[in-house]
């Protein structure tokens, strides 16, 4: 979100266990953790519209895209490399 403040065109990728961060029904208050998934809704106000989620990662975990807290673009395994290659900078979290 901070990057988009500098008028950068930002894309966000969720792969493997990262897709679990998007689950709608999380309640991290139970373990005194921050409810990060609620901040994802703000991405659109930062003009971050390219939110990519790996379809296979969801499938492997039995998650449907309707169970996610925001609207996302599903990508295939093979799409990640080409999409990442089109980015000028990459940061991993």
């Amino acid at each position: 979100m901070a990057m988009s403040n500098f008028a950068q065109d930002v894309s966000v990728f969720f792969i493997e266990d990262g897709v679990l961060q998007l689950l709608l029904s999380q309640d991290p208050a139970a373990i005194d953790a921050k409810a990060y998934h609620k901040t994802f809704k703000a991405l659109e106000f930062y003009d971050i519209e390219n939110i990519y989620v790996c379809r296979q990662s969801l499938e492997q975990r039995g998650i449907k895209s309707t169970q996610l807290c925001i609207e996302v673009t599903l990508i295939e395994h093979d799409d990640l490399s080409s999409l990442l290659a089109s980015q000028q900078h990459v940061m991993s979290f």
């Binding site: 493997e16 266990d17 679990l20 029904s25 492997q60 975990r61």
Partner: protein, 94 residues
């Protein structure tokens, strides 16, 4: 009899798989932290519910939005976890 405690996700670590290869059917298995994601794993799930005593830490599952549907898996609180650790001879942290 031992209680085996797993903390890492089965999608990123092999710990749960390694434990399931060795655990006795009557021993206890406790899933905490990211190990609660194991109930989403289609290949491991049948092996989990084959065990006599599988526990999932309620707070950790709820925090992650994980819903436990099987009656064969017992949701326990932190307080019950402490009680369990006394009931079993040892707690094995994987």
């Amino acid at each position: 009899m031992n209680l085996h405690k797993i903390t890492s996700s089965p999608f990123t670590h092999l710990t749960l798989q390694h434990c399931l290869q060795r655990i006795q059917p009557t021993e206890g298995l406790l899933l905490t932290q990211d190990a609660t994601y194991a109930v989403l794993d289609k290949t491991l799930y049948p092996k989990l519910i084959d065990l006599q005593s599988v526990y999932v830490l309620k707070e950790d599952a709820e925090a992650r939005g994980i819903v436990i549907e099987s009656g064969k898996i017992q949701l326990i609180t932190y307080a019950q976890f402490v009680e369990l650790s006394l009931e079993y001879d040892n707690v094995v942290s994987w």
